[in-house]
Symmetry: none
Subunit: 100 residues, 2 copies
Amino acid sequence: TQQLLTESSLETSKARPCRVATADRSVRKGIMAHSLKDLLHKVRDTLMLANKPFFLVLEEDGTTVETEEYFQTLADDTVFMVLQKGQKWQPPSESTRYQL
Amino acid sequence: TQQLLTESSLETSKARPCRVATADRSVRKGIMAHSLKDLLHKVRDTLMLANKPFFLVLEEDGTTVETEEYFQTLADDTVFMVLQKGQKWQPPSESTRYQL
């Protein structure tokens, strides 16, 4: 997925820092990704999901992220959660919540 | 993933200040590091971990930092936590929390 960087695409195509948690929030990893596709590949490798199907949601509220367009609007260090078959997003428990 | 140092990448390769805490947050040290690899070496020496295996997570939320790329995106004075075998990241207790 190499591509020439033009001035206008630099902003959206440069690698951005993402944080990816497992469904039980026991593991959280920092991963750099240029795109949603890139992130999906790296999540598969980093969390050793092999060929198991999964998708990504926002850790904060379970919003499914499935388009590049939407991915590109997210802030650096957005926290994603990996959901595999049968897994469901759950709100963080009180003890691990840092919201205001 | 070697790369030539152009003017713009100099910024990311110069030594940056890091703070490194133990898993129980009883010790916190300021360490200058050029890279994740450099930081890992210095943590081993500074905290006298000898040959014990360990890894680094972000103190704020337990995100594992295992790539140079991701390390380079972190702000100066980011607080890391050293986790050795059997240790687990835990949120700071109420008394040590400084969030708004």
